[in-house]
Symmetry: C2
Subunit: 493 residues, 2 copies
Amino acid sequence: MTANPLAPSWLVVPDDANELAPAVWPSNATRAAGGELTLGGVTASALTAQFGTPLYVVDEADARARARDLRDAFDREFARIGTDVTIYYAGKAFLCAAVAEWMTGEGLAVDVCSAGEFAVALAAGVDPARIGYHGNNKSLAEIDNAVENGVGAIVIDSPVEVERVAAAARRHGRVQKVRLRVNSGVHAHTHDFLATAHEDQKFGITLDDAPTLVSSIRSHASLEFLGLHCHIGSQIFGADGFSESAARLLAVHAELRAGGEIAELNLGGGFGIAYTTADDPTAIAVLARQLADIVAAECARLQIPVPHLAFEPGRVIIGPSAVTLYEVGTVKPVSVGLDDGSSAVRTYVSVDGGMSDNARPALYGADYSVRIANRVTDARAALIRVAGKHCESGDIVVYADYLPGDVQPGDTLAVPATGAYCWSLSSNYNYLGRPAVVAVNDGAARVIVRGETIDDLLARDPGIGRGTRKAQTAGDHDTNNTAASSPDSQKAS
Amino acid sequence: MTANPLAPSWLVVPDDANELAPAVWPSNATRAAGGELTLGGVTASALTAQFGTPLYVVDEADARARARDLRDAFDREFARIGTDVTIYYAGKAFLCAAVAEWMTGEGLAVDVCSAGEFAVALAAGVDPARIGYHGNNKSLAEIDNAVENGVGAIVIDSPVEVERVAAAARRHGRVQKVRLRVNSGVHAHTHDFLATAHEDQKFGITLDDAPTLVSSIRSHASLEFLGLHCHIGSQIFGADGFSESAARLLAVHAELRAGGEIAELNLGGGFGIAYTTADDPTAIAVLARQLADIVAAECARLQIPVPHLAFEPGRVIIGPSAVTLYEVGTVKPVSVGLDDGSSAVRTYVSVDGGMSDNARPALYGADYSVRIANRVTDARAALIRVAGKHCESGDIVVYADYLPGDVQPGDTLAVPATGAYCWSLSSNYNYLGRPAVVAVNDGAARVIVRGETIDDLLARDPGIGRGTRKAQTAGDHDTNNTAASSPDSQKAS
């Protein structure tokens, strides 16, 4: 089959539009005997029957394995160069109690960047000493609360935070470990390595300013300087940016050692994943080896001991582990005129979620893949666009993929690689309740975040008296999605 | 003062960086004697003291006046050409019980596009016969629920919906009024008027297909065809797009009259507002006159009676009525290199909200304005960028404006024109609770949507036992923001 002229150039016409490309699906995603998608041993139909759609499904074993494999690879490679490493799971990608437990269970520490994320981590039993706290504008209350609860380290983002954290530490009689966030001038996602570290962004300080700030940190008895921190971007496919950034940071790190030993270097996160088969991120094991090599080489050149290393991956661990299930509501072939006067057909497949459960296509133009989950079919592949149900033309879930041309209302669609920054960024746009998150493992499924009912959405509106509800408000979004019923939903008429 | 070379070309250096430009502020926004911002007669300091920050503040009298003035203008102009008009408030812009009451109180009908929006409207006491129901993918349950509850009209968006709505109407023994959404080929926001109506988007059908669909609608005894519906875009500043679209629709409308009278024509919404002083939307009174003129002229040319008209504005009514208040946490001057080798300073002012309470800058690159709310100052103006507190470099609230250069931590900032698509699109990214919405009127303030506490955010996580909370989780976001305490927040440690 030839490509549809409306398809983007990167999109390959698949030999089989039912195939689950291993690079973009959780490792335990398979087709059952009848062709149905199975996730962690649970069929899509069992999941949708029990929990409804839309539904986030996380493969627990897959997420744990990615965490473990990443930690193992970094442990091994950095042991090779004579040091050790701490892996912080970046909670902003997706955090709930279950995920925090999985990550700590696999030996990871946890990164948070707000009072809310910190509260989740603590409530999930994460050792506060194994929590790192980020943010360009932590509130005084957040800093105080973090210090009081024994947070492992705070990443200082601006000069004013030195004083704020020092004061909080004094108040609570603690010596607070801190990192200093610097900009290395490396923007890995744009392949733009600036000559200077003067960056037009809200985070961190310039490398030039680091010595002054580190002196300031060292002047406080209530602070312990752990080392520099840098984050060069997100969804990065290769090691070049990290290498360049590590070299720049280590040069300053070496200078700063004149004022005292520095335990650590934190190179942040940003490791990319495959959302489509066109994406080709460097394997984590290779990345770990390259990063260890560059750190070893730079430290040798600078004649300094190799520091303890820290990294903060989120997406690369949880992103590929989840799949979103939707139900198709409408299928609409749209004839689009081409420049040569001819036309081609793009089929809009509308589902029962959209930009409220996955903002990334609208927010970043992010591409995703899609497959029919409830069946396989030999129908000729057609170029489709998966649209959401929101009242907005930019509400797209998958800009372009090929699906069997007989995709129809009632089919279940599965969009892979939705574990990171989908639930995190979800909204209630158009008063759609956010879907439940279900973990699958070894043939069993359990709710790890309850879905929202319409009653949940109305609960904060004081103008809506409980007794004045005039109508049954059951929609698709409040059937079955509730592991624990809210007090409101039990009162629903 | 000369412009900062980092400023966008549209941004004018203000004579007074404290001034509240009438075009972008609610009509009852003033500076009190001491210089403090006052909204609806309530000072910013009184609002933040009682409700905390971030905070959405809606000027009730302003919103009502915009609704009333719009309705009056359209009534007057369409009466002049011998017909009448229904104005539907587009609930997707911002809907809660209070706003629904204001809109219906000013004689507007209400547009919804989901079971949730419909539930809010009903619970707020909106007459279902005055509700229009939109959506490219209404679920069967949504259609059934809408019909059962006597919804005024359903906008049919695809062929399959004809059968779905007809079946629901039969089931409930009703004759359901329906509109048919068509694409006119006019994209007003891009000034791109396509020669054909074949549009590469999820909504509606082509004008060419309208006769077939209308025949299908008319073949059902359970459906009553009201007329065509079109929506040409959003944030539109002039009448040209509406005029072109109206002409195209009326030509088909005239053809369709061969098969029976057609009561109405619905030209949708999309009227733009000023987010900055560089925005210059056509005044509503002028737009109403131009639209009435084009409809009258086209009907005369086609020798058909002028139909009843309907419009669906949202943003133009509620957008300018609200202001978001934030507290400044950090102020960071960043030196940015210019092409000529020199550099200029952009000051990053970080606030306690961000893309979670206003996604539009990140989502659409939307520009906003900002002023210091708690004081006026003669300090020389500086180019600032207001950044949020999320762990994401794209988390910007105001890309560029000039503020007095002595803006400092603890100041309250006010961002105007945040009434539409801010609360609607809000998220809990980084576990930030969504701010409360407060209505101000005549010197009094009341909560119309309660803000979220951290406990609200954790309530759907079954892994977080109520008894296992290990820490005080109070952050900025859960102080005072709660008009009605949730059961959880009362249990907070």
